[in-house]
């Protein structure tokens, strides 16, 4: 059976050059980065090179990059660490309505400590209006955290404009750029953000490796207390192989981004153009124009996402969904509800996210097997039966 991986947003595969770069650190290059002896010094050089490579991807200085174990950790670090370090000024935080759970729940934890949180709505394409952010900022606001691009609907946000509004009012800006960094150009100087999260597995790097960019001079509370690793802000023995892998992946992403995207974009656009015409009552979610190059998302009416994922998986195709049934919490995605979809339609959510190895044949195969899958599930659906009666 043909196998087609269209789940980049869950994790991109490890690039072969990345795994080769990592391998020595899983075998003969051992030791602890903090050791003074020659074994430790070798590792320290490797980690600092990776920090430099990672910084290069987002135009940061290497001392502004802190390695973490995941994008979620970077988001927790930023939201909690910045809020707690600046709470003397005020205890109000602003988020968009479509943040990742790691940002949402970090803010929820802060609410339990007495912080208040405002969620800025988005429009039907999932776009945040900077003037709404401006309206949400109060004198006691200390932090605005908003994503750069949504992994669920693919929309890329006007982060530069949002950051400008925040800095006008002397408010810090953190951006969850996990879905974006390594896939679209991210320049923290031009965006002018104070903190930004990125994750290696979103650009063909290893899982369990991510980073937080924190602008020099911005105060933050350490996330893990302990030793002196990561300038004392995130203690714990370094995952050297992973960090080296992240650095290599960042370097490859910076050099190959344009070439990768020029291969992926036509495939993405083919899916957007063909699928909604092959199946009735199927809509594209998110902004078509301001969109991640590897991302297509849909809602298919009258059927449920998990059933589609299982059916696609039986045909060798990997995709994702934001339906209630696919989430452990059994709740419809807050992102899909925030762009105004009703619960029934949100259940039919489906995301295809491309990787650089995808071929046109893969997309044609998907286009081939998809309509019969939908037809089979709809033939079982009481909602579809009702729709047909009314028609």
């Amino acid at each position: 059976m043909r196998k087609v991986y269209l789940d980049h947003i869950a994790a991109a595969p490890l690039h072969p050059e990345v795994s080769s770069a990592m391998m020595p650190f899983l075998t003969d290059k051992y030791g602890n980065v903090q050791s003074i002896h020659l074994f430790g010094q070798h590792l320290q050089t490797a980690v600092e090179e990776a920090r430099c490579q990672t910084a290069g991807l987002i135009n940061a200085k290497s001392e502004e990059v802190y390695f973490t174990s995941s994008g979620s950790e970077a988001n927790n670090f930023a939201v909690k660490g910045l809020a707690l370090a600046h709470q003397k000024k005020g205890r109000h935080i602003v988020l968009s309505a479509i943040e990742h759970q790691s940002v949402l729940y970090s803010a929820k934890s802060l609410e339990k400590l007495g912080f208040s949180v405002t969620h800025v709505p988005v429009d039907k394409q999932g776009v945040i209006d900077p003037s709404d952010v401006k309206k949400a900022i109060k004198t006691e606001t200390i932090l605005v955290s908003t994503l750069l691009a949504s992994s669920e609907i693919g929309t890329v946000e006007p982060l530069k404009e949002i950051a400008a509004v925040c800095h006008d009012q002397d408010v810090l800006v953190h951006s969850d750029a996990v879905a974006a960094a390594g896939n679209i150009p991210v320049d923290i100087r031009s965006l002018d953000v104070d903190a930004l999260s990125l994750s290696a597995n979103q650009f063909y790097g290893p899982q369990g490796n991510a980073a937080l960019f924190l602008k020099k001079g911005v105060r933050i509370l350490p996330f893990i207390d302990g030793g002196i690793q990561e300038s004392g802000r995130r203690a714990g023995t370094e995952n050297v192989a992973g960090i080296v892998g992240m650095g290599k992946a960042a370097e490859l992403a910076r050099m190959n981004m344009a070439a990768r995207n020029s291969k992926i974009l036509p495939l993405r656009d083919k899916l957007i153009a063909v699928l909604p015409n092959a199946v009735e009552r199927m809509i594209v979610t998110g902004d078509i124009k301001h969109r991640l190059p590897h991302h297509v998302s849909f809602c298919v009416e009258f059927i449920e996402g998990e059933a589609m994922l299982l059916s696609l998986s039986m045909k060798g195709i990997a995709a994702s969904s934001g339906s209630a049934c696919t989430s452990k919490a059994l709740k419809a995605s807050h992102v899909l509800l925030a762009i105004g979809l009703d619960h029934a339609l949100a259940q039919g959510s489906l995301v295809f996210s491309l990787i650089e190895d995808n071929k046109e044949k893969d997309i044609d195969y998907l286009l081939d097997v998809f309509p019969p899958i939908i037809e089979r599930l709809r033939s079982m659906s009481p909602l579809y039966a009702k729709y047909q009666e009314e028609k």
Partner: protein
């Protein structure tokens, strides 16, 4: 989360999908808020379930559950079919992931509703008129997904929304409601 082979087999080849024309009973349960909806149709002959058909909107588990419930019910007497529990259904499928257990609840419940619908139709009009108390139970429903509730619980069995009691009227409200959807009293939620 991994489904058992039997769940996958029923998902791939569900038995008894469809509609029965002029059924003896129809049972509908669930709604799209929680992700699953099932409609069961039954045909009864001399107190025995002759045929079952279903239509289901939902996840893999919901479809497999519907399929196996239909298989389990066909050929059983009304009394025995009413004894099929959600536990039996999950067991028959070789187990279900913990967070999907409410789907198996729905399958047996939808079948029982179809049987109840059949029994109600069988009753003489006088008898049917004399059961307002049976309706009462349905009056409490989840304020989020409108699922049925047997008294106040800390969360809805159907959609897993956290619930509490409205201090004014005592009806269930979600922890996110700003006002009670029943009596409109303001609630002290954050």
């Amino acid at each position: 989360m991994i489904y058992s082979e039997k769940v996958m087999e029923h998902f791939e080849n569900p038995r008894n999908v469809g509609v029965i024309e002029n059924p003896d009973g129809i049972g509908e349960i669930g709604n799209p808020v929680c992700g699953d909806m099932m409609t069961f149709y039954i045909k009864v002959n001399e107190n025995r379930i002759d045929d079952v058909k279903f239509k289901t909107f939902g996840c893999g588990a919901a479809i497999a559950v519907s399929s196996i419930v239909s298989e389990m019910a066909i050929g059983k007497t009304i009394e025995d079919a009413l004894k099929i529990s959600n536990k039996d259904v999950a067991k028959e499928l070789g187990g279900l992931p913990k967070n999907k257990m409410h789907c198996s609840n729905l399958g047996a419940d939808a079948l029982h509703k179809a049987i109840q619908n059949y029994l109600d139709k069988e009753k003489t009009p006088e008898k049917a008129a004399a059961e307002p108390s049976a309706k009462k139970k349905d009056e409490i429903s989840c304020p989020f997904c409108e699922g049925p509730m047997e008294g106040l619980e800390s969360f809805c069995k159907q959609c897993h929304t956290e619930l509490k009691e409205c201090p004014e009227c005592g009806d269930p409200v979600t922890t996110k409601n700003e006002t009670c959807p029943h009596c409109k009293a303001p609630l002290k939620n954050k």
